[in-house]
């Protein structure tokens, strides 16, 4: 079995202190009359070692942006820079290596492989790369998220919240530079949601990682350092040091007069 290629370290030249930058990003789905522009010239800077929330109405292109950011999907045009690398210019193998070594994902419904146990799911990325995971770090993550006694269970034997936390352990285990999360608290009760947010916060504060999270929840956004707002596939402003109130206000403004301020 040949070793998959290892991703080169990312030079931080997306800009001074920038983890990632989108420039005029366009993503179209479908062809002809059924064509949809999910991203319509989005330009956004994501600051390094920060916890950034992405917000906007349903269908505004948040998930699409996150997919492009995480190298899961390719933009139709424009640039998606991660560090100094243009993801659009990479071939599949290089993109795969970046996903595996530099990025962690958490999605709404956990996304675990059903026939592997929780523990095996956690180790999946390391096994695919032919490496061993950092044991101490794994133990700490597992304990902090309270899934230590569930590692031998199959996903189908876990609750939705437990599955979600296992997915978080998987995302953080490789100490990725960038962690992206799409509505990670959507399936969790408020207590588990708070624990998860605290852990993502710690990723930034304690471990110096960059976290980008899509959420609809103003309280969750209040935990972050900055909110990036999207509307119709374009950037629609930012909120620095957000609070529940300021976020609600800006979202209200965004929704109210259609077509104004674009």
């Amino acid at each position: 079995m040949s070793q998959p290629p290892v991703a080169p370290p990312l030079p931080t030249v997306a800009g001074p202190g920038l983890a990632a930058r989108a420039v005029d990003l366009v993503r179209e789905y479908g062809t002809g009359s059924s064509r949809v522009r999910a991203l319509d010239g989005l330009s956004v800077d994501l600051v390094e070692r920060r916890f950034t929330a992405v917000m906007g109405a349903s269908g505004s292109g948040k998930s699409t942006f996150l997919h492009c950011l995480a190298g899961l999907d390719r933009a139709t045009s424009g640039q998606m820079l991660l560090g100094g690398t243009d993801l659009g210019a990479l071939d599949d193998a290089a993109l795969t290596a970046i996903r595996r070594d530099r990025l962690g994902f958490v999605f709404q419904d956990g996304n675990l492989l059903p026939h592997l146990t929780a523990g095996e799911n956690i180790d999946l990325a390391a096994s695919l790369a032919g490496r061993r995971a950092d044991r101490a770090w794994r133990r700490e993550l597992v304990e902090r998220l309270g899934v230590a006694d569930r590692l031998r269970h199959l996903p189908s034997q876990l609750s939705g919240g437990q599955r979600q936390r296992v997915a978080v352990v998987r995302a953080l285990l490789g100490r990725p530079d960038l962690v992206v999360a799409d509505e990670p608290t959507g399936a969790l009760d408020s207590e588990a949601g708070a624990a998860l947010l605290a852990l993502l916060r710690a990723c930034v504060d304690e471990f110096g990682q960059t976290v980008v999270m899509v959420t609809h929840d103003p309280s969750a956004a209040a935990v972050t350092d900055e909110v990036v707002l999207l509307r119709d596939g374009r950037a629609a402003g930012r909120v620095d040091r957000p609070t529940r109130r300021t976020v609600l206000e800006r979202l209200g403004e965004l929704a109210a007069p259609a077509g104004v301020g674009a």
Binding site: L72, D73, R100, L113, P114, H115, L116, A125, L128
Partner: protein
């Protein structure tokens, strides 16, 4: 490592699905194992049947044609007088009416010198001795008729005392060995060959033997061994053609089921890509999974095949066709398992390639069903057109080529058929779509039927997989029916042509033909005349053939060969019937694989569409309606397959007859129609299980989230 482990895990977690995916290859592997074991065991029987020259014989003399009893015995005396000759044994062989235990049946009697190196009893010192007036019976024969040593039987009017029960090859018939002198006395046992022991000059024997064929013992045994080898190679070759057909069918089915299963698991594979698996790793994991499925299917299939073959050989032993112990051929069985693994991996190649290209976002629910992926219509149609032209051209030249070389002609016809099958594989999805579009107006009034038709249309690839394999099975069966009808008609015609009468006696086997004709003609039931070298016999006007037979048997001297047109025709028809049965059994396997394909495809597609079925149930389609839609899908797929199969198979049956230079005659239309209808019926019946599970889907789950 992780790739193999994930694959193995995925098979072990869903063993039922793995079996379902692999069941077609399991059936094909079982067939391969049975074929292999039957051939291995038949080998022993063929050797026993075909190696008849005793090791001690130095020279073998075979009279040419029908030789009068006396002439043969004269030759034997002449040879015996030659310098160096130690022993001569004349073998007489014939079917004789024997009365034993109060019942008269026809036995196959052979003469035996009773002792010495040329005797069949040479290795059985406890049996015999066989002297004039005695008979040695085969073991089963003695059991069947209930006689033992010392009892008396009556053969052709001669009383014989059972001198022993022993090692006589029986092959399921009543047999006995008699002394040569009794064979002459009994009559109806013409001399068929003579064995000579001694250091004797072949030329000297030839000088005495007249026009009889003289061969040295070693050469004769060599010839027999070669003939056995040829037969065996023929059997193996024929079997492997049918095994290959079954395996190809299984590959088509497994390929389709893999595509269905992987489409369902696209999100999982994409997730692997998300967390950093390369496309190659995903590709390999699918192939590894296929290998696991193939191994599982191969083991189950080979095991089942071993069981069936053991049963068949046991049955053959009960019928005295084999006596040797069961040959298990372990190396061959391992090869069967390997065949299953290789075939399954090959079948999974296209879906593995597609899986390797899965986009990671599919894991996040962003992608749609992969079966709906458009097929490259243009390229396929061009390829199919080229293949069709080649197939037609190959078929067209097969007939003229066969006039000079029949084997090449047949090979060309077979090649043409193979090309047509390749065309079907390529354009199957389009055919299914056209068919679905054609029947759509008929389905307008029933929601269930509309659902079935739109499904067949939407998932045209999987429907096409069912259809293609059914076409292959039905096509082979149709070709067989047409060929059998043609061969039977041809046999009837040629018997009528060569006989020109109900019975004939060759002039040169009777001492005084004119006297015999006069004697026969004197009988009121017989119309006898000499035409060329034969005495032709017909029933006199107003008498029936049975009366003719009695009259002739009463009149001709015992031991005279009389050939009956009816007997010859019955013999040919029996051979054809046996051939048809064997052919049907071989083709049956392909049809079974096709039916398995129907069940598996429908079962998987019902499982995949539970959500959708639940939704239409919630919207008011009845339970029976849901079941009906599955039955309609099976019906549509099999109707397309049966129609194509009957038409194409019929055409190739006619082509085969033309290649063999036989008149095609009237095609067996009724049988062909029955075949088509039977296959559609069987497919709908086979759909019973998926129908049940479709009917069981509760409307509520249609509204629940994934």
């Amino acid at each position: 490592m992780i790739v193999a482990r994930t694959a193995l895990r995925s098979v072990l977690r869903r063993p039922r699905q793995a079996l379902l995916v692999g069941v077609a290859i399991t059936a094909a592997t079982a067939f391969a194992a049975v074929a292999l074991l039957v051939a291995a065991n038949a080998r022993v029987a063929l050797v026993a049947f075909g190696m008849v020259t005793p090791p001690a014989a130095d020279v073998v003399v075979v009279p040419r044609g029908d030789v009068a009893q006396g002439a043969a015995l004269e030759v034997a005396e002449g040879v015996r007088a030659l310098p160096g000759v130690v022993d001569v044994a004349v073998e007489h062989l014939g079917d004789v009416e024997v009365e034993a235990g109060g019942v008269t049946t026809t036995w196959k009697l052979t003469s035996d010198p009773g002792g010495g190196p040329l005797s069949a009893l040479r290795d059985a010192p406890d049996v015999g001795p066989l002297e004039p007036g005695g008979i040695v019976l085969g073991r089963r024969t003695a059991e069947r008729v209930g006689v033992d040593v010392g009892d008396t039987v009556v053969a052709g009017g001669h009383e014989l005392v059972v001198a022993g029960v022993g090692p006589v090859r029986e092959f399921g018939q009543d047999v006995g060995l008699v002394h040569p002198s009794d064979a002459v006395a009994i009559g109806g046992m013409p001399p068929v060959q003579m064995f000579v022991v001694g250091d004797v000059d072949l030329a000297a024997v030839r000088a005495v033997a007249g026009d009889a064929a003289v061969t040295s013992g070693p050469e004769q045994r060599d010839r027999e061994a070669r003939s056995v080898g040829d037969t065996l190679a023929g059997v193996l070759g024929g079997l492997s053609v049918f095994v290959a057909l079954a395996v190809v069918s299984a590959v088509v089915i497994v390929s389709s089921t893999f595509r269905i299963v992987l489409a369902r698991r696209a999100a999982e594979l994409a997730l692997l890509r998300c967390v950093g698996a390369t496309g190659r790793q995903v590709h390999r994991s699918v192939l590894a999974e296929a290998a696991c499925v193939g191994l599982l299917g191969g083991l189950v299939g080979t095991g089942a095949g071993l069981g069936v073959a053991a049963g068949l050989v046991a049955a053959a032993r009960a019928a005295d066709l084999v006596s040797a112990p069961f040959v298990a051929a372990p190396g061959g069985l391992v090869a069967c398992v390997a065949l299953s693994v290789v075939a399954t991996v090959a079948a999974a190649l296209p879906s593995a390639r597609a899986a390797g290209r899965t986009a990671p976002v599919v894991a996040l629910g962003a992608a749609r069903s992969s079966d709906a992926r458009p097929v490259r219509v243009g390229a396929r149609l061009v390829a199919a057109g080229a293949l069709t032209l080649t197939a037609v051209a190959t078929g067209a030249v097969a007939v003229p080529v066969a006039r000079t070389d029949q084997l090449t002609g047949l090979a060309l016809a077979a090649l043409s058929g193979t090309l047509v099958f390749a065309v079907l594989v390529a354009v199957g999805p389009f055919l299914v779509r056209w068919a679905a579009r054609a029947v759509r107006p008929l389905a307008a009034r029933s929601a269930a039927l509309r659902l079935a038709v739109s499904n067949a249309h939407r998932s045209s690839r999987r429907t096409a997989a069912m259809t293609t394999v059914l076409t292959l099975g039905v096509g082979l069966a149709a070709a067989l029916l047409v060929a059998v009808a043609g061969v039977t008609a041809d046999a009837r015609e040629s018997v009528v042509r060569t006989f020109g009468a109900d019975a004939l006696i060759p002039v040169d086997v009777v001492a005084d033909p004119d006297a015999l004709v006069a004697a026969l003609a004197a009988h009121p039931a017989v119309d006898a005349r000499v035409v060329g070298t034969d005495i032709l016999l017909d029933p006199a006007p107003g008498t029936d053939p049975a009366a003719l037979r009695d009259a002739v048997l009463d009149t001709v001297p015992a031991g005279t060969s009389v050939y009956w047109a009816g007997d010859v025709l019955a013999g040919i028809e029996q051979t054809v019937a046996v051939g048809q049965l064997v052919g049907a059994a071989m083709i049956g396997v392909t049809l079974v694989v096709a039916m398995v394909g129907v069940v598996v495809t429908l079962a998987l597609s019902v499982a995949e569409r539970r959500q959708e079925i639940a939704l239409v149930r919630a919207l008011g389609v009845s339970r029976a309606g849901a079941r009906r839609s599955v039955a309609a899908e099976a019906g549509l797929a099999s109707a397309v397959g049966a129609t194509l199969g009957v038409v194409l198979g019929g055409a190739y049956g006619v082509l085969a007859l033309r290649v063999l230079d036989m008149p095609a005659g009237q095609p067996p239309l009724v049988r062909l129609a029955l075949l088509g209808a039977g296959v559609v019926g069987a497919a709908v019946l086979a759909a019973a299980v998926p129908m049940r599970s479709a009917g069981r889907v509760e409307p509520a789950i249609g509204l629940a989230a994934r």
